[in-house]
Symmetry: C2
Subunit: 256 residues, 2 copies
């Protein structure tokens, strides 16, 4: 019989208050990025808490990327890198049993947009990076077609790198963020597909077509080739008779 709803009482531990306070100082610019954090004892004195408590607060800052420690030196204030956070999010997606279908749908949306933007913004340096990547992959494909032993992990790594270079070239950090789960989760499904269907050259060809579009600055064509390339993943996955809606297994992706 309660006739009044009390707002939930929150008794945050002191170390979290320390975290909040310092986070605020950083976000509002009173503590400048790049400068060293004040000494622990000084902070303890200012906050009126013990040094151990301050240290626990600093650990929170450290894990959230707002503070970087470099050896035994004074920790420095830094800006968290969004791609690090994105890869944590990808790991979380795996733990939440994300499905192949979800990843595929997202890749069909994000990657073509990245290819399009990359075609518009690509420069010599980007093309050079892509060339190196393509040559490495071609070497590997030729070796495999000669009956070589497949090094799946290395192949998938080259595949990922190709798409990462594209995302970098596209020059859109929000799209790069959206694209992170695609490289770290979707493309590694190749580890399941490739050995069963031997589609190595098909992947290489797709990359090469996209590369040509970039060189020709043909954004529309780049988009459409990438679209086809992503859809190939689904078709191949279906041929393996795995369910699109079954949760992906971290182990079989070689993600630990």
């Amino acid at each position: 019989m309660q006739d009044h709803e009390f707002s939930r009482i929150e008794r945050a531990p002191a170390y979290r208050l320390v975290y909040n306070a310092i986070e605020r100082e950083i976000l509002t610019g009173r503590l400048r990025v790049g400068s060293p954090l004040p000494a622990e004892l000084q902070l303890a004195e200012q906050f009126g808490v013990n040094r151990s408590t301050v240290r626990e607060g600093i650990r929170l800052l450290e894990q959230s990327g707002l503070v970087e420690r470099d050896g035994g030196k004074r920790p420095r204030i830094s800006v968290p890198h969004y791609l690090d956070l994105a890869s944590s999010a990808s790991r979380a997606l795996i733990l939440h049993s994300v499905t192949f279908r979800e990843l595929w749908e997202a890749s069909m949306v994000v990657e073509p947009a990245i290819a399009e933007s990359a075609a518009q913004h690509v420069n010599e340096a980007g093309l050079a990076e892509l060339t190196i990547n393509l040559e490495a992959m071609e070497t590997m494909v030729v070796r495999l077609e000669g009956g070589g032993d497949p090094d799946l992990e290395a192949f998938v790594q080259l595949d990922r790198t190709f798409h990462e270079i594209l995302a970098k070239v596209a020059g859109n950090r929000v799209l790069a963020l959206a694209h992170e789960p695609v490289t770290s989760l979707f493309i590694p499904t190749g580890q399941i597909i490739l050995p069963r269907l031997k589609t190595y050259r098909r992947v290489f060809d797709a990359h090469h077509h996209i590369f040509d579009c970039l060189k020709a600055k043909d954004a529309a064509k780049a988009r459409s080739w990438m679209h086809k390339h992503m859809d190939d993943f689904r078709r191949a996955y279906e041929l393996t008779e795995l369910s699109l809606d079954a949760p992906l297994d971290a182990v079989s992706l070689g993600i630990s």
Copy 2:
């Protein structure tokens, strides 16, 4: 003249080793999600370090979402929520001076896809949620057109909620992840646009059209209305004479 490359020497502090060890136990399933973390003293004994050191390691786990504390109770092992990590990433984007153009380009890609998927998967409960949201917004628009005092924050919040409901209804967690910066950064630019151009009803109308498409399960139309809706943001932003390529300012977005 160095003929041998030494691998970089890494001297991680003990608390980080503790973090790594426990993280591993969780990811490999030896520590089950939902169960309480072993007592600090027990961990300290097992790892052969002091309890303070263990505690610092636990703070790292806490911030990365692998451990959840609930009051003074035993911290429990949990799965990090990807949306929390995404909102950290959004904050990082702001600190990295992300531009309106980047957010807009991403929104033009992600939001129409979400609308399309939402139209395919929407159910009664989702429509009900959207109805409540729309009614609240209509009330506010009518009040504003009657000369009422604009509560920008509340309006933007309703706008965000509409898009968040859509993302939830779409049922794709990877797209939801990609869409997070759109709600937490892009839509709040309305705080800049709305008071200058008074486009309240225009926003409401767009939402209503999208809602109708969902009710009719017309995915293609939902996509196209959302596309138009997002592009409206750019057109409005350009009319304010702000540069699309200038970094967004956290303060003016009401993000602290």
